[in-house]
Symmetry: C5
Subunit: 293 residues, 5 copies
C-alpha cells in the first residue's frame, strides 16, 4: 500500500528487511505544557511604594503558590538570565483548556501590569515509542494485518493504552525542583539532501537509541522532559532540562551534538536558562535592591 | 508549445506518457478569508471601571454576534494560547471588499482600543482539482485541442463551473463550531534540488492523492479547510484544522509529515492554536479574574 | 575579452552560438516610484472630536487630490487588508528628488500624527529589453565592434533612446484605476547551484519570453507594472498588479509559478493587497463606524 | 607550511603555479567610518512652536556645520527615502574613539529628542591589494623567505607602508558632494559548495580585476568608497556610491551582478538611498510644510 | 561500540588509524560570563537636572566600582559604537547564580530607568582540549579500556582535573584593561554537506591547531577569551577580543577567515565593538555635551 512506502535516501544505511510497515512512530502523551517568557517592567515597578509592591507580590505569590501544586497539575516560576526575559512560568496541566485558564489567571494578576509577554511555547509531554512501534508493526505485518484496517487500528490502540498505563509517571511527572532549568525547542532537519522524515523507521530507531544511551549516562545529574509541539507551536519538540549544576547542560548537549541524529538531523531554536524561584521567594526576587556597601 | 513544457527533475519518477499537458492544476475558490491575530492590552483594560468594561464588551459582543452569521458569511472569535496573540478573528466573506469592511468594523469597535494587531492572514477557500485537471487536459490533448486556444479555454471554463457547482458546500462551508482551532500557513518547497513546481503534474497528483488518504482517516475527528493565498499573503496556502481534542492536530500533522509530499516538499510557517469563544462568552473571557481561594 | 564571458551552468541548455556578447540585458526606465505602507493609529484617532477629524481629513484629501494627478506624476491611496498596514500610498514621479518631496509632504500632513510607517519600497519603472539587447549585441559582434568601445557605446545609446521613445507610454503610465492592487518584491535566485546570473543571456531571453506569454493571456483582466530596484531597495524588482477581481492575482501568479523562470529562479518577498481609495473617499474610510443595527 | 595551504574547490580553475603563498590579500586602511540611520519623530516635532524648532535646528546646524569639515575628518547628512530612516549621518574620522565622540555629540543635540536610531554601520575605508600581494608574496617565495618569518614580516610591512603612502588620497578622501548616496553592506559567500575563502588567491585576484574593469567604465558618473567591516559589523564590507543621477546606481550594480565575483560570490544586505542635505539646508528639510495651493 | 562511531564525510581526509575513540573533545570551564547590551534613553536623561544626573551616576559608579573587582569575579563597562547598544556590561562570576545577582543589581540601579536591554549573551570561559583528548582517548584505547566504563571515566576525570589546575589563570583571567573590545558569537557549521560534527576528531584537531597558529602571531597585539555557550545561548561559542588598536580585530579575523576551520565551518553572529569605560569615567560618558565652539 502506497502510504506505507518510505522514500529511500540516496546514501543507503544498513540493509532493512521489512519496508512495508508505516513510517510513523507511535507516541503517547501526558501533561499539556505552556512556557511563558515575560519581561519585567523594572522602571514602572520602582515607582511603586513598598506597601504597594508587597501587596502585589503577596497576591502573585498566593496564586502562584496554589498553582505550584493543584489537582490539575503544577506550575513553576523561573528567573531567566539575560535579555530574553526576566521571568518564565512553566505550566503542566491536564488540557489546553486549563492552560488557557492558567494564562488568563496570570494575565489577571496585578503583577501582570509589570509583565510583558516576550515569547511562549505550547506543547504536550510526549514519549516516542520507536521500539514498541517496530515490534507491533512487524508483528501485524507478519500476521498479514493490513495497515490502518480495523484490526490493525485495534491492535495499535491496545498497544498505546498499555504503554500509556506503564509510562504514566513519566507522562505526568512532578515538575522537578532542581535549581536550574534549560529550555529549548528543536526540529528534525528536512533538508534537500538530509531529511529525517525520509529515513527508514528502523534506521531512525537505531539513531534514537544511540542518542538515548548518551542521555542515560547523565541520568544522575540532569532530568529531561521532552514535549511534542507539532501542530501546536513553531518547532517540532521542546526540551526541558533540570539540573543543580548548569554546566551539565553544556556537557550533555555538546556530547549529544556528535550523535548522528543530532549532528546531521537536529536544528535548534532559542535557549532559555533560568533559576527556580519558589512562590515564597518572589518578593526577594523582585526587591531588586542595590547591594549595600 | 513551450509553455506547456515541464522541467524534469533529475531523479526521474515513474514514466509519464503525456507530457504535453500544462503543468498548472485547476482550482476553484469560495469564501474570502481573513484571520486577524490580536494582542489584548490587559494593563489598560484593568484600569477600567466594571461598568465601562461591560459597556465595551456589550458593544463588541453585539457586533460579533451579527458577524457570527450574516448574509455575506460568518466570523468567529478564538482565545489564542501563548504570546502570539490573545484573540483571533476568523472572517469568511463573499469578497475582499467585505473582508475589508469587516476589518474596518472591528477597528471601529471601542474594544479595539484594547487590541493591537499582531499578525493576520488573507486567503480564499480553495479546492485543488488535480484529478479533474489531468482528466480534462488529457481529453483535450487526445482531441488535439491546443492548450489556451478558444476551444480549450471554453472546455476548462465549463469544467470549472461544473466542479464549482458540485463542490459548493465545501467552498462556502459553515465555520465549524469545534472547541479548538489550529491555523498555519505553508509553502511547497522550491529548493535548488527539490522543487515541487518542476515535478510533472501526474507525479504531483499521485503524491497529493496519497496525502489525502491520510487526511481521510481522521475525517471523524478533525475538520480541515484549505485556503489559497498565492498573490494575497506571504505563504502559498493557509490551513485551518478544527477539532474537539487538540491532540488530534499533532497526530494528524505528524503522520502527514512522513508523506512524500510533506516530508520533501512542505515548508511550514507559524502555528496558532485557539479555543472558540462565542460572542456570548466574550465577557467571561475578558473578565481575567484572579482565582478565588 | 574577459568581462563578456558568461559562466556556464553545469546543466547545459540549448547550444549557443555567440558567447562573446556581454551578459547584461539593456533596460530603459521611466517614473521613479515609492510605495509607503502605513499603520493607522485608530485608538488616538477615536479620541478626536468629529470636527477635528473632518478638518484633518479635509487637509489630507486636498493634498492627496492634488497628488493624484499633477505635472510631475501621480499618487494613489489604497486601503490595505490585514496587519501589514492600513494605508498605502503609491507615488509616481519624475525623479527621486520629487519622491523625497512627496514623502516630506505626507509627513507634513496633520493626518501623519495618526500614521506610522510600516514599510516602503523604492524603485523605478523598468522595461527589460532582452530581445533588442541580443539583436544589437549580435549585430555589433558581427560587425566586429568591441564591447564597450566608443562605437559600441554610441550604438547602445542610440538603441536605448529609440526604445525609450517607442515605449514612452509604458514608462510613464497612468496609475491604473482598478479596484484592487497587489504589490510584491522579488529576486532572481543566485543559489549555489541554480543561479540566474550565470545562465547565458540567450537562455534567459527564452525563459523571459515564455514567461511573458503567460502574462499576455491575462492582458484583459490584469494590468502589470514592473519596477526595478537594484541599488535602491532590498529586492531586485517590485511588481504591481491591478485588477477589478482580486482572484485574478492568484490565478496569474500561480500559473506563472510553473514557468521555468519562476519555478526555478524567482524568490518572492511580502505580498500587499489593497483597495483603491480616491481622495474623495478618505473620510468614509477613516470613519471606522460600527455597523448600525 | 600548513597555514599557507588553500583548500581547492572541486571545480578547478586555471592551473596555478605557486600555491605555497598565503591566501590572505593585504589591505591598507584609512578613515574610520560610521553610518547612523535615524528615524525622525515628526509627530512630536509638529507640537513645537516655530521658535523652538528654529532654536533646535540652529544648534544642530551649527554642530553639523563644524562636523562637515574639521581637523579629524568630515561628516555629512542625508535625507533617506523610505521607511528605513529619515536622516543618515556619515562620519569619517581618524579613529573609532573619535567616531564614538561624534556619536555622543549627536546624542547630545537637542535635535536628538526627535531622532531614534534605526540602524548603523561601523567600518574603515579599505583598499584590497590583490595585485601587490601576489607580487610581494611571489617575490618572497622565490627568494625562499618563509611566510611569517621576521624577514617576511619586514618586507610585508614595507610594502604596506609604501602602498599606504601612495594611496593616501584614496584612504582619506573628501566626502563627495554629489546629490545622491547609495549605501549597502555585503559579504563574500561562504556556501557549502561555492566558497570565496577557499578559492586560490590568484583566481580571486583575476575575478576582482575583472570586477574593477566594470567599475572603471562608470568612473565619470559615480564615485565609490569601499569600507571593510570584518570584526566591526555584521557584514564584511560596506559600499558607498555617490552620484548626481541615482539611476546610475542601478545601472552599475546590475551590470556588476553578472561579473563572476558578484554573480557567484556576493551577498547583499539592506540598501539605503539618500539625498545630501548640507548643514545650511537642515531647516528647510525639517520644515515638513504641506504644499500650498 | 556504536556511540563512538563518527560519521565519515564523503571527501575523506588524511587516513586515520584509531577511529574507535569517542568524537567529543574534552573541555574545561572557568568563569561564568554575561554580556549585557543596553540602549540608553538619552531623551529622558536630558530632562533631568544636573544634580539628579550626578546622584544617579554616583550610585551607578559606586556599584560598578565594586563590581570591577570583587571576591567572585569582575565586571567591566563599555561604550558601544553604533545602534546595537549604547552600553555593554561584561560580568565574570563564579556561577550563574552570581550572574543572576549581578543582573538583578544592575536592574536595581536608578540608572536602569535610563537603560533598556537590547540583547545579552550567557556563556562560560572554556578551553577545548583537542590534543589532550586525543592523547588520553588513544592511551585508553591502547590499554583496552572501554569508553565510558568506570575506569575510563576515572581517567578522564583525572585528566580534566590536572588540566584545570594547570590552566587556572586562563580559566579565571582578569578582565583585560585594553581600550577596545570586540565581541561576537559563532557556530561550527552543520550543513547538509559540510558538517563539523561529522568530521573525525583527529582532523578537527589538526584544523584547530592550524587555526591557533594564526592567533599566536597576534599574541602581542590582541587578547582573546573564548566562552562556550552550548545549552546556554543561541550560538555555540562567544568570542571576546581585547586590543588597544581596533584595526587588529579586522586584521586577525580576516586572516583567520582563510583557515580551513573558519572558511568552511565558521558561522558568525552579530559583532559588537566598544570602548572601555572605567567606573570613574561614567559621568563623563553620560554627560553627552554638545561640543562648545
Amino acid at each position: 500500500m502506497s502510504v506505507t512506502r518510505t522514500v529511500r535516501p540516496e546514501t543507503a544505511h544498513a540493509p532493512i528487511a521489512s519496508t512495508q510497515i508505516p513510517p510513523v512512530p507511535l507516541t503517547i502523551e501526558g501533561y499539556s505544557v505552556l512556557h511563558q517568557m515575560m519581561r519585567f517592567r523594572w522602571t514602572a515597578w520602582r515607582t511603586l511604594a513598598p506597601a504597594q509592591k508587597t501587596e502585589i507580590v503577596d497576591e502573585a505569590a498566593r496564586v502562584l503558590g496554589k498553582m505550584e501544586s493543584n489537582a490539575s497539575g503544577q506550575s513553576g516560576l523561573y528567573s531567566l538570565i539575560g535579555h530574553k526575559g526576566d521571568l518564565m512560568f512553566v505550566h503542566f496541566r491536564q488540557s489546553f483548556e486549563e492552560l488557557n485558564q492558567a494564562e488568563l489567571h496570570t494575565a489577571g494578576l496585578r503583577l501582570s501590569d509589570y509583565l510583558e509577554p516576550a515569547t511562549s511555547y505550547l506543547s504536550v509531554i510526549e514519549l516516542g515509542l520507536y521500539e514498541s512501534t517496530i515490534k507491533i508493526y512487524s508483528e501485524l505485518a507478519v500476521r498479514g494485518v493490513e495497515a490502518h484496517s480495523e484490526e490493525w487500528n485495534r491492535a495499535i490502540k491496545e498497544t498505546l493504552a498499555r504503554q500509556k498505563e506503564a509510562m504514566r509517571p513519566r507522562l505526568y511527572p512532578e515538575l522537578p525542583k532542581h535549581r536550574y532549568l534549560c529550555f529549548y525547542p528543536m526540529d528534525r532537519r528536512r533538508g534537500e539532501d538530509k531529511n529525517w522524515y525520509t529515513v527508514p523507521i528502523e534506521e531512525r530507531a537505531r539513531q534514537m537509541n544511540e542518542h538515548g544511551l548518551v542521555g542515560r549516562r547523565y541520568a544522575g545529574e540532569v532530568k529531561q522532559i521532552i514535549t511534542g509541539s507539532i501542530g501546536f507551536d513553531d518547532w517540532e519538540w521542546g526540551v526541558d532540562l533540570f539540573a543543580d549544576d548548569p554546566l551539565v547542560f553544556k556537557k550533555l548537549i555538546y556530547e549529544m551534538r556528535f550523535d548522528e541524529v543530532s549532528a546531521v538531523y537536529a536544528l535548534f531554536g532559542t535557549f532559555y536558562v533560568g533559576l527556580r524561584c519558589a512562590s515564597g521567594e518572589l518578593g526577594k526576587l523582585l526587591g531588586g535592591q542595590v547591594p549595600k556597601g
